[in-house]
Point group: C2
């Protein structure tokens, strides 16, 4: 018997053992700490159910094992200068120079910006915006949201609101809870078609004109409102934006540097809170998306 044959037998044996171990590990119940969960629960999954689940999963598992890792060779680096406010080295390669308006200096901020985006409430659809009033439910939803914002007790510096009727009426409800927060209306946050959507929808196909006009307006609004704090900002700041689902979803994609066409893959409950945090160094985190947990379940709606 030559070396080649020995190797063949040994490797064959190893493959057989590995297969046995794999099959055993699938057949065995998972090892886990003792769970103090009502025991009748564990029993609800009968041997039959277990066997069924096992055989259903088996082809999947074997398939996945041949291709178990998602490719990680094309990672796009985070653009630290995404908001055009990344500090640059000066000509002596020493001081940080901030391209912040006309201001230049070496001060580094220590406060973060917290942007809280509120979707308006449920409304009666009409051809003209002035007739698109909130429903009774829509009023109630924003009443809950106003109460929650008050309860969160954050030092809000301003509330910006879209000038569309449903956003104005939503703002009215919120302001009953936050009478001392300054407000500012802006057309730039009105609803529109921010970007082509992928995957497309059968019943929503924005025209090229809409994409051009709304898209450039909403992108301009993004650049106006979503950026890192000023280098002079030492404390965390909290701003509220009462606006619309498409605007909020597009802002989320742009702020997180994920493909903007993905905005349609997010959905937002009426009156929900979406919270974006921007650190002084330009790092961004999405902390809440569509947070509507402050509403009783029967008051939650999407459309």
């Amino acid at each position: 018997m030559n070396t080649r044959k020995v190797l063949k037998i040994v490797s064959g044996g190893l493959i057989a053992v590995a297969t046995l171990i794999e099959v055993r590990s699938i057949l065995q119940p998972n090892h886990h700490p003792v769970v103090k969960i009502p025991t009748h629960n564990q029993q609800q999954r009968s041997v039959f159910t277990w066997a069924k689940t096992f055989f259903e999963r088996f082809p999947k598992l074997t398939k996945v094992q041949a291709d178990s890792t998602f490719p990680r060779d094309d990672i796009k680096p985070w653009d630290w200068n995404w908001d055009n406010k990344e500090p640059q080295l000066d000509s002596d390669n020493r001081l940080h120079v901030f391209s912040w308006g006309d201001k230049k200096g070496s001060v580094k901020g220590t406060g973060s910006r917290h942007l809280l985006f509120i979707r308006h409430g449920q409304y009666h659809y009409a051809d003209s915006d002035k007739d698109c009033h909130l429903t009774q439910l829509g009023r109630e939803q924003l009443n809950f949201t106003g109460a929650r914002l008050k309860q969160l007790n954050l030092p809000y510096s301003i509330l910006y609101y879209s000038t569309m009727t449903r956003a104005v009426e939503s703002t009215e409800e919120i302001m009953r809870h936050l009478p001392d927060v300054p407000v500012e209306p802006t057309d730039s946050l009105c609803e529109g078609a921010p970007f082509p959507l992928e995957p497309p929808l059968e019943n929503y196909k924005p025209t090229e004109d809409e994409l051009d006009n709304d898209g450039s307006r909403i992108e301009k609004a993004f650049r106006t409102y979503v950026h890192r704090p000023s280098p002079n900002q030492s404390k965390d700041s909290y701003e509220i934006f009462v606006c619309h689902a498409n605007v909020i979803r597009y802002f989320v994609c742009r702020a997180l540097q994920i493909p903007p066409e993905a905005w349609i893959r997010f959905s937002l409950d009426h009156g929900s809170i979406t919270w974006i945090v921007i650190r002084p160094n330009g790092r961004v985190a999405l902390r809440w998306l569509g947070n509507s947990g402050h509403m009783p379940p029967e008051k939650i709606s999407i459309s």
Copy 2:
């Protein structure tokens, strides 16, 4: 005067008029419906503040106008077969054939899968997992989450939980509210390093080995649990997963088909609910991320 000169004068005039209109539109207060918001609010922004804001914004606005639209020439199409369960045409080009385990048929499902991912509660960090118990606050957080899941009153079919101590203890708290929901432990949902993170973090640098081992395990878990409903599923189904921040954030990226390295750009409150919906045709929506609105503000924590 030749034609060239006339054209120059006319176009010069047009540019001047356009500039005037633009400046006017910026100077004018926004047109918006009458807002019934406490009037002292509007007055809080004095003429001085307004002028300051205006002049601060002006350089930004002019800058943005030259480059106002985000590029939309490299949109990556949604992969309808992301979960390897997209129906295929048969050899006669007529019937839909589903590659669903061994099952093949032309039945099209009408029910969606709702996956509710719960992050465990706050815990005491220790070197050994068995010593990583929930804090008193962590127990309270999951008690609120269990109560909320009960209150949502959805027909949960199963609760899967990670076998790490903090997830097991979190599951115990939830199960006090949902005693009739079947539970199933799984090692595959344990915490780990699912994928390289971008932007990187100073204090969390997973090794290549961790990325390989955790990454392939968590990717396998994704393929096991996150996929469209079976073509036989006629009603919406609701499944609960009690696990960990990295796992949930990675699943969100993979399900939404956004770059997996972006998982670090999301952050999740303890005990929060993240809700992914998968339609029968494979369309995916993220409805909630980090929904912790069911907790009193003083009970919310991240780390």
